[in-house]
Amino acid sequence: MIARRAFLALAAASIATTALAQTRDPLADRFGGPFSLTAHDGRRVTDQDFRGRFMLIYFGYTRCPDVCPVDLFTMGEALKLLGKLAEKVQPLFITVDPERDTPDIIGDYAQSFHPRLLALTGSNAEVEAAVRAYKVHRVKYTPANDPANYGVDHSSLTYLMGPDGKFRTLAPHNTTPERMAEILRPYLERG
């Protein structure tokens, strides 16, 4: 009888240890946080509007000459590969160049990559708050001979946030659509 109790106690401890390990994700609080922005259809949205769904977030800008088109194409193709599972995901494109990326401009741009990709912009302060929450590198550089044609250096990570708004995982630049789908699939199946 004592041995049986010991067995049950150990089994319970083992389950508890596993559950505890699952809740202590060392990355969970390192990325993400509140944002309040304007969607390309004119709606005001906050991070709270997406609770209960995964958010797949990319920061970039429509005049980006190289990195953004590649990463957004990857995101769009990965979502297609995920089929029905992709319905659990709200893909988001947050501009790092709110000065030029007005709602009408970012909407057309984003939807050329995926019909459900929601593009978000706002005031510089609103974008900066989102940038800081996600620890995004954002530096504007202005050519001396052509100030209007400035560029914005920015991070190239794609963030998966869970239905609770907490960070789940990253996909670095140069991830293929197949690999991104492979990374996302287990999270979407579990969540």
């Binding site: 041995a3 049986r4 010991a6 067995f7 150990l10 089994a11 083992s14 389950i15 240890t17 596993t18 390990a21 699952q22 202590r24 994700d25 060392p26 990355l27 969970a28 390192r30 990325f31 990195v67 800081r132 620890k135 995004v136 590198h137 530096v139 250096d153 920015h154 991070s155 190239s156 990570l157 995982t169 990253l170 670095p172 630049h173 140069n174 990374i183 579990r190």
Partner: protein
């Protein structure tokens, strides 16, 4: 009693592994590279030949990694106490250098993420590849 203890241990081992592995303190030595060029193998992505390109990539937001002697990539998400950016401008000054760093390693979905607490040693650029490969991306 022993068989029950073994049974409990076996049960613990059979439970699903935690979805998210815990972090570990590590020391990593290798070259600071941009992952775009280095993973794809473009621009002779090593040493002096690639230094200029590596700086551009780091400035432009391409993730910076340490590539160790075994070819493992450790993608850096933070250096020291900087909590502002996952793509820290401090890297720009030491791109292509061979460094030894202390940090916190977290593995997620096949990628090794590193939170660097300190750069313990910096040997500068030791991989002299420019004589054979020119200065990328412009060539000789």
């Amino acid at each position: 009693m022993l068989k029950y203890l073994l049974g409990a241990a076996l049960l613990g081992a059979m439970l699903p592994a935690p979805a998210n592995a815990q972090s570990a303190r590590v020391q990593v030595k290798g070259e600071l590279v941009d992952t775009w060029c280095s993973v794809t193998g473009i621009m002779f992505a090593a040493g002096t030949a690639h230094h200029l390109c590596a700086v551009w990539c780091a400035v432009g937001g391409i993730p910076v990694s340490i590539k160790d002697a075994d070819g493992n990539y450790y993608m850096i998400l933070r250096i020291a106490e900087d909590d502002e950016s996952a793509s820290n401008p401090r890297f720009v000054k030491i791109m292509s250098h061979e460094v030894t760093v202390d940090g916190e390693l977290i593995e997620r979905d096949g990628t090794k993420y590193l939170f660097v607490t300190q750069v313990r040693d910096d040997q500068g650029v030791v991989n002299l590849t420019h004589e054979d490969n020119g200065i990328q991306p412009f060539g000789n």
